[in-house]
Amino acid sequence: MLIGKPPDIPSSEITPPSAYREFMNRRRFLKGAAAAGAAALAADRVARLIEPGRVAFAETKLQTVPSPLTTTGEQLTSFEDITHYNNFYEFGVDKGDPAKNAGGLPTRPWTVKVEGKVAKPLTFSIDDLLKLRPLEDRVYRHRCVEAWSMVIPWVGYSLSEFIKQCDPLPSAKYVQFLSYFDRHVEKWSGESTIFWPYSEGLRMDEAMNPLTLLTFGLYGDTLPNQDGAPVRVVVPWKYGFKSAKSVVTVRFVDKQPSTTWNDMAPNEYGFYSNVNPSVDHPRWSQKRERRIGLPFYAQWRDTLMFNGYGDQVASMYAGMNLRRDY
């Protein structure tokens, strides 16, 4: 098992990519500015004027602590690839679209509404959520149903910590997550026939599993918009689409909630959608996967049952027929 010793350096200690990207920017800009005899301060101001988008959406560094639940022994996927190869269909169906189009997502102020089978409905602001528990560095493998995978250093804490604050009733058997939706902001949402907002759900025990992460950042910084800012769910043993992005509503329910891809094509996307190399998808064999960022001749590797997290999650499915409940 690859879970165990935390990395020597928490990802919060790594120079955040936004910092060196800005540095590169400034250096590039200074080449011209020096010739013009401009001071560094002025150069920085001008640079901000020239590229307001970059500065306005720059990620901010988060205070993090190491976690025993992090995955070790894997080479991290680059920040560039994690942020430029996204399925976020509200911002376009091409993998490169969300990086281009998600700039308008209003991540602050942001509230998460808690409703349904709870003692009393609640609303959390993003700042409340960030302060609720210490933010942990958790590296997870991320396996998309399309047969590609990444290794991502997320930042967050177990969703169970948040659920405890929500005070769900005993009748709450499932939890549903609804993503932000505004067709004026997400003008690209008509590129597919999906019925918005995006909905995902977990069984209560799955949601309470310590691996399920309420996620606020990656590579030590707050989440870039295209990766589901400002708060998302990450369920590392399930196909990526189970991990709802930009969550605005958490609803506790007594029946299995309707979920977006399961509604679109139930024969292709089951409610559980646990990573399982022995159950093929009608479009893709799930036996192998392509690791993002490697050359084409080195991309393929065998897919692991439960994406390699069986030790922590397999017991939840004891006695279930995973061929039927895929």
Binding site: H84, W148, S192, T193, R290, I292, G293, F296, Q299
Partner: protein
Amino acid sequence: MKRSTLIALKTVVWIACLVPFGFLVWGAVTNNLGPDATAEIANTTGLSALWMLAITLAISPVRRLSVHLAWLIRFRRLMGLFVFYYASLHVLTWLALYNNFSIRSMLDDVTKRRFVMAGMGTYLLLLPLALTSTNWAIRKLGGKNWTRLHWLIYPAAICATIHYWWKVKTGVLEPAPYTLVLLVLLLARPVMAWSKRRRARAVSV
């Protein structure tokens, strides 16, 4: 058209058609094919074949618009062979990268996945067309038989479009523009034949 103009134009078409391939080779050598290199190769070869097929199908109706465009026919075989070239690279990508040359894995893929089946069907329809593209084959078959055989380009184009729709996820409308173009090109034929008949009648009356 002058011989020198034709040669110059053919050179330009050759170079233009090799751009996607050049892009892939350059990307592979410099390790610059994007985050998912394998998918990039599959998508580029597949989309190149699709759009070149649309261009091939456009040649016949467009040249009939004016006598001055009759020379376009001299580019149809070239375009058709480029369709086959990219389709072959696409199939090779599937064989080598997606199935690791394993017969078992290929059989599994073809029988289990309808989009692979449709893609394979397209390639099998294109194969006899490429094989009978030489002047020798045209002479041997005779013009009439050759034309009859090459009618297969229409089912091939339809099959390719179905392959595209079945490949993308349910609800994704990405193949719509291509489908629209193909629809226009296929409908252009009966519409043009009909208007020609009408004009012929008008003249005879």
